[in-house]
Assembly symmetry: C2
Homo-oligomer: 558 residues x 2
């Protein structure tokens, strides 16, 4: 069977735009001669619509658009479509919609498979909205039987996962049905999977291994098409592929771009899996952050961004990402030195801006700061310099950035990293202001790796920025290490606690560090929950990022 994997980038709720992409990819696939064109999960409405699914008009428009999609398959010899959508269900005691994979052929909807396994962990809330399938069945497309599944349906193989998340395995059920098909239909087992599977570290590798194991176990060709593009915090990497019953790769699409790839399930030609490496993962992270930034702005109809440039590595990396995402002409850097800023803070920022070819302006903080002190006399008079005075500086900077944003229509990109966000080493309404927290799911040690990656072709981030000790420069001679351990000590502690819920004692043993240090870090993480709940949306690149996939109370004894 010749199948086109139409890896499109839908926008949530952009029914006309999404339909346009589906129709145009369908046309290209038709010209290439295929029997089936596969589109991702919820392709018609875009993933993730969240509570828009509660709106009657949203469901109605999804259903209308699905009928338009079906219509494009009308006509002799035209390929079928397999496409994700939502459909109503109205039985008492059930949720009001289902997440469905729809086969359209000959101008009509021919078959509907409801998603059975609804993820309800981390960022996923599918059980909030969708009624799960009670059963699944094989169907025929162009005379060929196929097993259709939606994303998570393929993620519960008991032979692959040490622990099953769900009591049933829809793929196993479908393959039991296949086993009793008459010859010759039972010959070529084909499992189709339409997905909206977001990127995070190592996810791509897991998909290959898991689907490969599934293909071998069931002696089936598995074809998986994944959404590409970012919607809010989630970046979908695409990276669609097909694997044959020997677990060999038949075809794959590019990551982080729209792509159309054609696979013949009967082909004996296979391609090698790319060697994976830490460097490849850094490149994917970079691509995810670039795509996440571009889609956040462009899908919201913004073209320009602002970055506060401190001369430090975080803001330098964010500016570099912004330039790749939006173009140098659409990025402005603003230096906002205070009396505690080093000379390097401006010279390094200026050098970065020159390397990137972006506009750079200076908006000084000192005079504003002095007037705040005057105004605050009733509360500040006679008190020593402390946290209040330190935080005033980033809050003035945040206000400057937002003023320029309001004046120019450019969105502010937040520059904090995950190590800071975790430990609260950041100022709410200060350096935390912005529309999008570009690197807030990257630990400081990753920020260095990504910055070196930014410099892979030519020097963009200045040497000084890469080598000087990190400092918030909010008091004389301040260094990050006054408050925190070195980042190569801190980051593994934070990661183990946040991503794996490892206990203090286990972390101390694993990392060979003092358990009291670990407890201090954990306490910092916990008491700073209030800051993160008011943070800008964070581009997710790890399995556990700050944001809606991590739901902790603020008021709690820990």
């Amino acid at each position: 069977m010749r199948i086109a994997l139409a890896q499109i980038n839908p926008t949530v709720g952009d029914f006309d735009g999404n339909y346009g992409k589906i129709a145009s990819f369908y046309e290209r696939a038709t010209a290439a001669g295929v029997e089936l064109v596969m589109f991702p999960e919820l392709a018609v409405c875009g993933y993730w619509p969240a509570d828009l699914l509660e709106k009657e008009s949203f469901i109605a428009r999804t259903e209308e658009t699905l009928l338009r999609v079906a219509e494009v398959t009308r006509g002799d010899g035209k390929p079928a479509i397999l496409c994700g959508a939502v459909m109503r269900c109205d039985r008492p005691g059930e949720k009001h919609v289902r997440n469905v994979a729809v086969v359209c052929d000959g101008g009509q909807v021919q078959f509907v498979q409801t998603k059975m396994l609804l993820p309800f962990y981390d960022v996923f809330d599918e059980q909030r909205y969708f009624e799960p399938a009670q059963q699944q069945g094989l169907t025929m497309i162009k005379g060929q039987p196929v097993a259709i599944s939606i994303c998570e349906d393929a993620w519960n193989d008991k032979m692959f996962w040490p622990r099953q998340q769900y009591p049933v395995d829809p793929i196993e059920e479908l393959m039991k049905q296949w086993a009793v098909l008459p010859q010759p239909l039972s010959g070529n087992r084909i499992i189709l999977n339409i997905s909206a599977s977001p990127y995070w570290h190592d996810k791509c590798e897991v998909r290959y291994r898991m689907i490969g194991a599934l293909a071998k176990r069931h002696r089936a060709t598995v074809v998986m098409v994944n959404q590409v593009g970012a919607n809010d915090s989630l970046v979908f990497d695409g990276a669609s592929f097909a694997i044959n019953p020997e677990g060999k790769l038949l075809a794959q699409s590019h990551g982080f771009v729209e792509d159309l790839v054609i696979v013949d399930t009967a082909s004996s030609e296979t391609i090698p899996f790319a060697e994976d490496s830490e460097q490849a993962e850094i490149a994917r992270t970079w691509d995810a952050l670039v795509l996440g930034t571009r889609d956040y702005l462009h899908k919201s109809k913004f073209s320009k961004a602002l970055v506060g440039l401190s001369g430090g590595i975080d803001s330098a990396l964010v500016a570099a990402i912004a330039v790749e995402a939006l173009g140098a002409e659409n990025v402005t850097g603003i230096g906002m030195p205070s009396e505690f800023s080093s000379e390097g803070s401006v010279t390094d920022a200026r050098e970065l801006a020159e390397n990137l070819g972006i506009r750079f302006e200076i908006a000084p903080v000192k005079e504003i700061y002095n007037r705040f002190e005057d105004s605050l006399t009733p509360f500040f008079a006679g008190t020593p310099f402390g946290l209040a005075e330190e935080n005033l500086q980033p809050r003035i900077r945040g206000t400057i950035l937002m003023a320029v944003s309001n004046k120019t229509g450019a969105l502010v990109l937040t520059t904090g990293n995950k190590s800071e966000m975790a430990t609260g080493y950041c100022t709410l309404y200060g350096d935390m202001v912005g529309a999008l927290a570009v690197i807030a799911d990257c630990y400081k040690t990753e920020v260095y790796k990504l910055s070196r990656y930014a410099n892979r072709e030519r020097r963009i981030i200045p040497e000084e920025t890469l080598t000087k000790p990190p400092s918030a420069e909010l008091r004389p001679g301040q260094k990050d290490t006054d408050s925190l351990p070195e980042y190569d000590v801190l980051d593994p502690i934070v990661r183990a606690y946040i991503e794996d819920y490892t206990s203090a004692e286990e972390i101390a043993a694993q990392q060979q560090v003092d358990v009291e240090l670990v407890r201090r870090i954990i306490r910092l993480i916990e008491i700073n929950e209030y800051k993160r709940q008011q943070a800008a949306p964070v581009l997710k690149v790890s399995k556990k990022s700050f944001g809606r996939g991590r739901r902790f109370p603020i008021v709690a004894v820990r």
Copy 2:
């Protein structure tokens, strides 16, 4: 059967504190002579623990504490306990914990009933964590059969609700089991329900009606004990009660305070239901906001609060609530006039502060504002006064408030109302700063009603504040009605859209307003999602508040 309804206020994760409350209420109930003491859902760990349930140590401490609770029932003639907790379950394909009601008697756990209906809508995420019960069974306490249910288990009666949310009704199932009990056991039907049912408008009335209908339908006495106290955004009103098989009230506890009430299920003495009224609902809303504010601060170990006083009604109401919650000596008001502030802005604020007996200070904005303009010259020079200049003023105020907060250890209370939050008539990082958004689930028209309620005993909020036209005072002569319709037109539109997902056309017809106006308001609501996602936690008092119960994408075409 003599039962004590122990309506306690637990703190999430405060195992020792929660145990202490359980032991002390148990002791009081024992002295009063009862056979059973009922505590709320998840009383051992506090509701709502959210992702703390992912932490092994949290589950372990809950289980340990439950054993301590069981221990207090050891000894001759001591009453049994029915108490909420979480317990592990380790079967493959299942979630790792269950939400349970545990009967402790004679120093041991005697019976465990798992919650069957797990709410998954609005603020509830229980399916994220808990494995539901597959079945429920009657048990015996002190020789008396009882049917035990947990909160939502009692909320799916097909005779009461027009639409069932779940395919099963655990109460109906339990009553079927009751029907086949031998005489004389089958005589006195008792349904016990332990709840953590948060307050919102009319919820208390719904509970009475629904439980009353259940009691009559099943000819049972229903005893419901509810958590009291606030944890983050959710305020639990308590208001526990018992209803006899005729639907008459046997006992009820006070709302919004800890309480111990004893009921004899065989008693023939009933008490009348209180007449409900709009005024009673306003009083409950007030109590909810006071309790929500007090618990947010006190459970976080803060005692003091700051409020920016503009002379307007929103900040006046928040200050009045803060004083009732925390005491006048713990509240400070700060007036921050800019060049566009009316004279009344300071005089009305000062009068309010005097009426409340709180400290009041002035921190002027004008000089700071001028220095910002200087610093912003590269971007502002030659441009007309506009949104950027307007927003600068509240952002300076936000920065002043946060500086005083950092200096004095007082938390900032945010003063925005729901009408503003909905339409985006508020400044991110400006008037939106703060630890807790006290009245952000109250429409402006409700703010007036609550303010009149604040003045019920003596004049607290000045007459001028109550009568002058609302204005943000960010440019000369500005009025809210320059940008928005009158609040008595706006609020019903916002409410219908946010709380009931009503379409623009239906709202226009219902409210007799121009559909284009409705569309403009809906558009404002939708495009301002980005502000709300960075807002302070909102005390929930309506069925749909901003915050985690309302999950919309920022990037979407609507």
